[in-house]
């Protein structure tokens, strides 16, 4: 069986698992391609970025049409995230693959720790009439009951700094950046979690496109590998999303933490041995 076909099949599994756990496919795809299929890490990162864009494109169309994703907030933060994507992509194409493996392993550990510490309930959004003010007021229609939820998105400066960091992580490591964007919007900026996740999904596409361009022009992005990977992640994410209600969230979280730590160890090993 060709490497491309194997990559396609494992991408379906990775995309599905990522969707079930609620994280982007990139966090799974890059170590799977690198550790299991021995793909050079920069090629894996570039392929993952195409998967991130493809998944973001299909999901954000729905989120924007439904009005849940905050287009204005997303575009504002995109100014920082996309710029970060360029610098991350430049860095990623320049620095040694072993350093990237070390950074990716560290990211996996970070995400695993966040999952272990994850709060049972997200903090309440900042009320739109909060006297502290700042930022801007927005709203969305809660799909479960049709009520209008108004909120105030504030601390734009903190959001911009975190978004720039998220863009760098995305361009450097081939992940979506949602691992930084979502908690930033929700915890620091007072945005409801549903808006934070959908707006982050909207932001992922242009951010990853900014860095994917750099890998593409540099010849690091292998289209023959990237295409099936993107297709597989896309299909897997759809399947995972449909199955999510049937699988225990706790079991998934434990499974992801285990997988993430195993892959992190493999990445650290690669960083150490080359």
């Amino acid at each position: 069986m060709s490497l491309v076909l194997i990559a396609f099949l494992v991408s379906i599994a990775a995309g599905g698992f990522g969707a079930l756990v609620g994280i982007g496919g990139g966090l799974i795809i890059v170590p799977v391609l690198t550790v299991l299929l021995d793909v050079p890490i920069k090629t894996a990162i570039a392929a993952s970025l195409i998967g991130v864009i493809a998944t973001s494109m299909s999901a954000s169309a729905h989120y924007l049409d439904s009005g849940i994703a905050d287009r204005r907030l997303g575009l504002l933060l995109l100014l920082a995230t996309a710029a970060g994507g360029i610098s991350g992509g430049l860095l990623g194409s320049l620095i040694d693959g072993r350093v990237l493996a070390l950074l990716f392993g560290s990211l996996l550990v970070f995400v695993a720790v966040q999952m272990i510490r994850q709060r049972a309930a997200a903090p309440a959004p900042v009320p739109h009439d909060d006297p502290e003010g700042g930022g801007f007021v927005s709203s969305y229609i809660e799909p479960s009951d049709g009520s209008e939820v108004r909120y105030r998105a504030r601390r734009m400066e903190a959001g911009a700094v975190a978004s720039f960091a998220a863009g760098n992580v995305s361009g450097l490591l081939g992940v979506g950046g949602g691992v930084i964007n979502v908690p930033t919007m929700n915890l620091a900026m007072g945005v409801p979690i549903r808006v934070a996740t959908t707006t982050s999904t909207f932001m992922l596409g242009p951010t990853a496109a900014a860095s994917a361009l750099l890998y593409f022009a540099a010849g690091v992005l292998d289209p023959v590998l990237a295409g099936p990977v993107a297709l597989g992640v896309f299909i897997g994410a759809r399947i995972g999303a449909r199955m999510s209600s049937r699988v225990s969230e706790g079991a998934l979280r434990i499974a992801f933490i285990g997988v993430a730590l195993v892959f992190a160890a493999q990445m650290f090993y690669r960083a150490a041995t080359g």
């Binding site: 169309a61 242009p206 292998d222 295409g227 993107a230």
Partner: protein, 98 residues
């Protein structure tokens, strides 16, 4: 716009994968050589179709932003979309200059 880009690129990737499975020549080329890509599309070869799909994936977010620019003409969102498009254009410039 975004959904259309997803579907078209997915089609290109499916064609590339099918050609790979069917054992079509696994040639590669310079992705910036448009003539080579077109030639590979017509043979057909997996590389050409995969490259076309990748180009569509990368370009679609920019097309979506351009659509936002037109839809929200005169409003703040249009200026923001223009700003992001400027950043993507800068990325393209950096990519071509390297």
């Amino acid at each position: 716009m975004l959904t259309g880009g997803s579907l078209i690129s997915a089609f290109c990737f499916m064609v590339a994968l099918a050609l790979e499975v069917l054992g079509q020549p696994a040639t590669q080329g310079d992705v910036l050589d448009v003539a080579a890509v077109i030639r590979s599309l017509t043979v057909p070869e997996p590389w050409g179709w995969a490259t076309l799909g990748v180009v569509i994936v990368i370009v679609t977010p920019a097309v979506g932003l351009f659509a936002t620019l037109l839809e929200y003409r005169g409003r703040r969102e249009a200026w923001l979309a223009l700003g992001v498009l400027g950043i993507l254009a800068a990325s393209l410039g950096v990519a071509l200059l390297r």
